[in-house]
């Protein structure tokens, strides 16, 4: 008896050790991933509070001897030309991204609802045509879209970017939202319509509140996509006062000698809206992506 008990105990220890080994491997891997994503951001932050000289020193200063917010002051000061440009680029990006987001929600919500609820001729074809757009790399459309924009006179306007970002963002937005609407039982709307609502009221009063997480996720997705986009903004816009942040930062700081602390401070401030948006709304985002994965 005792030998059996011992053998079992030994077997259990061994098994426990093996599980622990895997768990530690997992932890180390996660740690590595964390370093991989966090270190560049930390370095960006540290560099942004260095002086121009300290930023290019080798070996590097891991922590600046004289931390300074001078770069931030320069960028946010509307009096000097650097600050004027930065604030204008920031405003341009905010404008383009916000309009893109609003338009894509306005279009995606009814489109997704229609794909989810109604059967109409060409429904499946249209739905896949919408997704087809996302199967090709963005660069393929660069030249044709530029020619198109020139033909309709939109080159060097923010309208060209908004239109382009919509064609990128909408397919996924519609697809994401359709999944959401598919999960809302049609009987809820039917009940509302019997209870005295019109079809539109049933949608606004019952379906919309239930799909808020999906709409928020869609909005974040569109906003981030538009906020970070570089190649189209670089191609379609050439006038300095129209540039968006990704292009503006790059152009502005690499003309003569690169002001690394300034570049890093600008990059940091560019990531702030996205990070804030994501932190505030992340619970909706996670819910949107996992909704319908399991039956409640």
């Amino acid at each position: 008896m005792s030998t059996i008990a011992e053998a079992t105990a030994r077997g259990q220890t061994r098994r426990r050790m093996r599980i622990d080994g895997w768990r530690w491997a997992g932890r180390i891997f996660l740690l590595f991933m964390l370093l991989y994503t966090a270190v560049p951001m930390i370095w960006m932050l540290i560099t942004s509070i260095k002086s121009g000289f300290a930023a290019t020193q080798f070996p590097p200063q891991w922590w600046p001897d004289e931390p300074t917010l001078a770069s931030y002051q320069k960028l946010l000061d509307p009096q000097n030309s650097v600050g004027q440009d930065f604030l204008r680029f920031f405003w341009n990006s905010l404008f383009v991204s916000t309009v893109t987001t609003i338009l894509s929600v306005i279009v995606a919500v009814p489109a997704a609802y229609a794909f989810s609820r109604f059967t109409f001729p060409g429904r499946n074809f249209l739905f896949f045509a919408v997704l087809l757009r996302n199967m090709f790399p963005a660069v393929i459309f660069l030249v044709p879209l530029f020619i198109l924009m020139r033909a309709i006179g939109l080159v060097n306007t923010h309208g060209s970017l908004i239109l382009t970002y919509l064609t990128f963002g909408l397919p996924l937005a519609i697809w994401l939202l359709k999944g959401f609407y598919d999960n809302i039982p049609v009987q809820l709307e039917q009940a509302a319509r019997i209870d005295g609502a019109t079809r539109f009221q049933a949608f606004i009063m019952i379906v919309m509140p239930l799909s808020t997480p999906g709409i928020i996720a869609t909005a974040i997705y569109s906003f981030i996509g538009a906020w970070n986009e570089y190649i189209y903004a670089y191609t379609f816009l050439s006038k300095n006062e129209q540039l968006t942040l990704p292009v503006g930062i790059q152009r502005f700081f690499s003309e003569n000698t690169t002001d690394f602390p300034g570049l890093m401070a600008a990059s940091f401030m560019m990531s702030v809206p996205v990070v804030v948006l994501f932190l505030v709304l992340q619970r909706y985002f996670v819910r949107a992506l996992t909704e319908g994965a399991v039956k409640h």
């Binding site: 039917q190 509302a192 209870d195």
Partner: protein, 365 residues
């Protein structure tokens, strides 16, 4: 309350006819069950009455209005859904208040009506809860309350008990029946469970393949099914149907089996059989109208036991007879074993005869 008339109702999806020339009248205060197997068109019919689906042709009258083109909200109906369809983001109170808010009732009147409905359904303590915090039975009761609070002309119920467990279903069944008796409400109730229809409804409309097969009181449908489908659908265990042929020998008419035996018929049943267009006749008998004998008696037919299912107060015996399986119920003290040879005696007064080609019931004059 109001009566409901369906006249030549048709609904087609492409070339598929989901509802086929259905006509029936639901009188004021009547409880009518639409019953049939899945895909028979009963839920579509209900959705047509509710206005959730547009009709292809025909007329729907509620009260004295033709409602063909009215929106669901203007038809003065309330509906209870199989999955309850409670608004998940709203509390029970707000769920009950919603139909009244949509009708722009004053706030204090809404409050009064909601509390009254909650009191009637014994769920005052649940008013502040969200639907997901309620059990299935409680959700069902809220759904019923939301229908009740409006005081509609007609209640439509789409399999309201199907999502409940067996015990709760029996309990809610009597609650809904009581609800109908107290309110004198006009109710159209869809179910695939013939037992629900038989136990609850004043009248039942049996549907199959989009056609209305029979519309009558449960007792009448049970006793006089118009065709083989209705005969086999209503009643549990199902009516046994045995395909046979008529033969005339020495001046008498009998039903003969390919197995070699024949069954003499009473004069009334002979009259029925002569109505058939062909020699093929199907004999239908319910389990309680067949007597089981352990030895041959005059007029009995030999059969072989297939399975024996004791249920406690009655034992169901399934036997092979002329290629069909026959259900017989016997008292629990009669012991039979599988594969045992038995003899079955049919009650001439209560047997059903169907035309083997048209599957319609054969009636005497």
């Amino acid at each position: 309350m109001a009566h409901v008339v369906l006249k030549d109702l048709v609904k087609t999806y492409g070339s598929f006819k989901a509802v086929n020339d259905v006509s029936l009248t639901v009188n004021d205060g009547e409880f009518v069950a639409l019953v049939g197997p899945s895909g028979c068109g009963k839920t579509t019919t209900l959705n047509l009455v509710a206005g959730l689906t547009s009709i292809t042709s025909g007329d729907i009258v509620i009260g004295d209005r033709v409602v063909n083109d009215l929106d669901p909200k203007d038809r003065d109906i309330a509906m209870v859904f199989q999955n309850y369809a409670l608004y998940p983001q709203k509390s029970v109170y707000m769920n009950l208040a919603f139909p009244l808010q949509m009708r722009k009732l004053p706030r204090d009147e809404i409050d009064k009506k909601v509390k009254e409905a909650a009191r009637v359904l014994d769920m005052t303590h649940l008013l502040e809860r969200k639907p997901r915090e309620l059990s299935g039975g409680q959700q069902q009761r809220v759904a019923l309350g939301r229908a009740l609070v409006r005081d509609p002309a007609v209640f439509l119920m789409d399999e309201p008990l199907s999502n409940l467990d067996a015990k709760l279903r029996v309990q809610m069944r009597s609650e809904i029946k009581r609800f109908h008796q107290d309110l004198k409400a006009t109710i159209i109730y869809v179910t695939h469970d013939q037992l629900e229809a038989v136990t609850m409804a004043d009248k039942m409309a049996v549907m199959n393949g989009g056609f209305l097969q029979q519309y009558d009181s449960p007792a009448q449908v049970f006793a006089h099914p118009v065709n083989m489908f209705v005969a086999s659908f209503i009643g549990s265990p199902a009516m046994s149907l045995i395909p046979l042929e008529t033969s005339t020998a020495n001046g008498g008419t009998a039903l003969t089996s390919a197995e070699g035996w024949s069954l003499g018929l009473s004069p009334r049943n002979v009259q029925k059989v002569t109505k058939a267009a062909t020699k093929k006749v199907v004999l239908g008998a319910r389990h309680s109208t067949i007597k089981l004998h352990k030895s041959a008696v005059p007029g009995s037919i030999p059969a072989k036991v297939y399975t024996v299912e004791p249920t406690g107060d009655v034992t169901f015996v399934q036997a092979f007879l002329s290629g069909a399986i026959v259900n017989v119920s016997v008292p629990p003290n009669i012991a039979v074993a599988p594969d045992e040879r038995i003899w079955l005696e049919f009650d001439q007064e209560r047997m059903h005869l169907f035309d083997g080609e048209t599957e319609m019931a054969l009636e005497a004059d």
